[in-house]
Amino acid sequence: MLVWILFLLCQVGAPALAQDLCQRDAPNGYKVRISLKTALGEDAYEWNQSEMFFFQATMAFAMRRHFQMETYNVDNIILCVQTSRVSFWFVVTSPDNTTMLIPKADVEKAVRMSRHRINNAFLLSDRTLEFLGIYPTLAAPVNPDTPPWLIVFGVVIGAVCAGIIALLVSSLLQKRRKEKGMTEDGQDEEDMQVKGVENGINLDGTYNRGFTDDDRFTKL
């Protein structure tokens, strides 16, 4: 009978005890803030008791994953001080002794380890599912071997140098061709001038060799 009364008291007292363990600014508790509308906009789901249960399950999973030996259960995650912001406090009790709270540091380690999984479970991110006091670890920067700008620079400078060399070479060749052409032209011009001055009349225009007096050279 006494045992039965004690059992009844425990059932009534347990939540009361749980209330004592979990309260605002609890020394071993964390405040969680969720911003559904910011994250999902129109696709935001409603935050209700089922979601709270899901959160408890996720936290239990995180604790199990971190400690690996102890079997945490949904009951070990106690939630309180819910607001319509959606924010609430939670504490984690040890599976062996429900009155003993897991220290803050251990909870933090567990959350950090599974942060990515917790975020994805709720379709949220580090910014929209906040554990106040646990700062998200920053992503390690991706450092490529060669900075990308150096590659683009190499391409541009290579193209420009190739262009400069091509232009210089072409102007050199042009000059050489002109010089060669000048010496040949010089002879042609002399011949034209000699044949052009006939009877003292300076003939303008090109000399038409079709009407040359070839007979001059083929004297029989």
């Binding site: 803030r33 911003s35 559904l36 509308k37 910011t38 607001t83 319509s84 912001r85 959606v86 924010s87 920053l138 390690a140 920067p141 990308p148 700008w149 150096l150 590659i151 683009v152 620079f153 541009v156 400078i157 420009v160 140098c161 262009g163 400069i164 232009l167 210089l168 102007s171 000059k175």
Partner: protein
């Protein structure tokens, strides 16, 4: 009775009209003087020279800060009264005398050779620092080929625990510009050494310039098909993109909302006059050279009017595009500011999301202030005002490398927009550099610095290499401060003096009658009354007024410069410091030597003649 100063021997120095006609027909093949392949190349080159970075980053700021749409009035008036006559004058005199700037002024009167020399010095000084801006643009262009732009987020600090503090206190764009690009020292006295990445970019900027001017206008004429037209294409793309962004129209409205009271402020007219003058790249000598390669009977009057119109239109068009993007950025900032405040309120009072929105923010704040005033005080909420964000309009490098780059990071597909924007800036600057370098190379040739037997490729090459080496000043840690020094003093006062001397020289020394006859010979009709009045009285008067005001402003202002000093108290606001004493020597060299070259050469010649 027209005022005409005595000018003996002028007839002997210039070609007569008959000789010009003969030159025109004989020079049908390749003569000694280069020629434009076609009129389009000439027009595009002149447009490219006139339309430069100033149209994109100086005019919008002036427009917005001097009464928006009302600024158009002084701008257009001074464009017509000052810009068009000066442009026509330079085109006509170059086409008539068929020489570069030094040759033209020596021909008009040997004592005026100083004007040509001053032009050369100014062009040289501006070329030196202008190409450094090109190097900066290239650096940003090279860095745009990445999925996440490097100026969109702060880098992590050494032990990966947080962001770099200098970046956290200012902003990622500021950090990227002042630290990763310039590696700016806190003082002009500390030179900080050469920044190797900027040296590479400077070399590439000079290399690209060299390949475009390697054979003079033969290669420049081909390059301008791209460099002069691409900016307009990109501006149009940005306009379409900008108009589809949220808040763009508020930017445009802010830009053009007229405030007619600004017209009574003399600074407005002064700034409009200065903007018209500098925008037209007059007195550099480049325009005179370019028009001397034209045929004698080219219609220079029509060219002047067309190019002025294009320049004015481009300024307004670019301002519209820039302000759509600035409007978008301001709206983003405003939304973020308000969003931040709303979040703080929601978090402090545990209100459900969506309870406080932008529309009821003020009411909610008031009611909460009534019930919990101490809490609200403790929150330190920021005041968010869209107009403050819009009037954060910056000018110059701040606009291009800080404000605009930030706006680009907020647009989807940022790397594409970044590449387009910096290619546009590069083309704008490169086409202006063609004119600057022309203003340096042709006087050097005329002075006989290079032997005539040397091919054109080597003279341009040597000039580029020397300018690049001297330009290494601007890629040190303190390079940015040197650049603003050169910009403020090297490129302002001397140009005004040169332009004034040009007008007086042509109108009163060469003789307005002779000039009118020349123009009648070249284009078929005498210049009408508008040109007469502006050339003889109005434009020189405007130049004089602007010069006097500018001179007084520059001489009386306390010489301060803004530095990026992470240790200063008001960081990230730029710290204003006074210049050290030895800077005054530098300023005197920059502004004084070109200005004094004008009377100096005259005195020198006078002495030579007397001896």
């Amino acid at each position: 009775m027209r005022l005409q100063l005595p000018n003996p021997g002028l007839e002997d120095r210039i070609l007569s009209h008959e000789e010009l006609d003969k030159l025109e027909t004989e020079e049908a093949g390749s003569g000694d003087r280069p020629k434009w392949d076609n009129k389009t190349q000439y027009m595009l080159t002149c447009v490219g020279f006139c339309v430069g970075l100033g149209n994109v980053w100086r005019f919008p700021y002036l427009c917005q800060s001097h009464g928006g749409g009302a600024f158009m009035i002084p701008f257009l008036i001074l464009l017509v009264l000052e810009g068009v006559p000066l442009l026509h004058l330079e085109f006509a005199i170059g086409q008539r005398l068929r020489k570069g700037s030094l040759g033209v002024w020596s021909t008009i009167h040997p004592y005026l050779a100083g004007v040509g020399i001053a032009s050369m010095f100014v062009s040289l000084m501006i070329s030196l620092y202008y190409n450094t801006i090109m190097a900066w643009v290239m650096w940003y262009l090279f860095n745009s080929f990445q999925e996440t732009l490097p100026w969109s987020q702060c880098p992590l600090n050494y032990n990966l625990t947080g962001l770099v503090s200098e970046c956290e206190q200012s902003s990622p764009v500021d950090y990227f510009w002042y630290r990763e690009t310039l590696n700016s020292t806190p003082d002009i006295g500390e030179n900080g050494g050469l920044q190797w990445w900027m040296v590479l970019c400077l070399v590439s900027a000079w290399a690209v310039l060299y390949i475009c001017i390697i054979r003079g206008i033969e290669t420049t004429g081909k390059a301008v098909y791209v460099t002069s037209t691409l900016p307009y294409v990109v501006l149009s793309i940005f306009l379409i993109r900008g108009l589809t962004l949220k808040g763009s129209l508020s930017g445009v409205v802010f830009l053009f909302t007229p405030n007619l009271t600004e017209l009574t402020n003399p600074t407005t007219w002064l700034d409009a006059g200065a903007q018209v003058f500098y925008s037209f790249s007059i007195a550099f000598g480049g325009l005179i050279s370019f028009s001397s390669y034209n045929s004698v009977h080219n219609n220079c009057e029509q060219d002047a009017v067309i190019i002025s119109a294009v320049n004015g239109f481009t300024s307004v068009y670019a301002a519209t595009v820039i302000y759509t993007i600035i409007g978008f950025r301001a709206t983003e900032r405003f939304d973020n500011c308000l969003g931040g405040n709303i979040l703080v309120l929601l978090n402090t009072f545990d209100l459900p999301e969506g309870n406080v929105t932008e529309s009821n923010y003020d009411q909610v704040l008031q009611s909460l202030n009534g019930t919990h005033p101490e809490v609200i005080q403790g929150l330190n909420l920021k005041t968010c005002d869209l107009n403050t964000f819009l009037s954060e309009g910056v000018e110059g490098t701040g606009l291009a490398f800080i404000v605009f780059t930030e706006a680009i990071t907020k647009m989807p597909a940022s790397p594409v927009w970044s590449v387009l924007f910096f290619i546009m800036l590069f083309c704008l600057g490169l086409s202006s550099m063609f004119g600057n370098i022309e203003g340096v190379l042709v006087p050097l040739q005329d002075l006989g610095v290079f032997p005539k037997s040397w091919p054109k490729e080597s003279t341009t090459g040597i000039t580029c290499v020397l300018c690049c080496i001297v330009g290494l000043i601007f890629v040190q840690g303190s390079g940015n401060y040197w650049l603003s020094l050169f910009d403020s003093y090297g490129g302002s006062i001397p140009l005004l003096i040169i332009a004034f001397c040009e007008m007086v020289g042509v109108v009163y020394l060469y003789g307005i009658d002779r000039f009118n006859d020349d123009i009648e010979f070249m284009i078929g009709h005498k210049p009408n009354l508008f040109w007469q009045i502006t050339w003889r009285f109005v434009s020189p008067a405007i130049m004089l007024v602007i010069f006097v005001f500018y001179f007084i402003t520059k001489v009386t202002e306390t010489l301060l410069y803004k530095t990026w000093n992470p240790e200063s108290e008001n960081f990230p606001t730029l710290e204003e410091k006074p210049y050290p004493a030895w800077i005054y020597v530098i300023i005197f060299i920059l502004a004084g030597i070109p200005s004094l070259a004008v009377p100096g050469t005259a005195l020198f010649r006078l002495c030579c003649d007397l001896i």
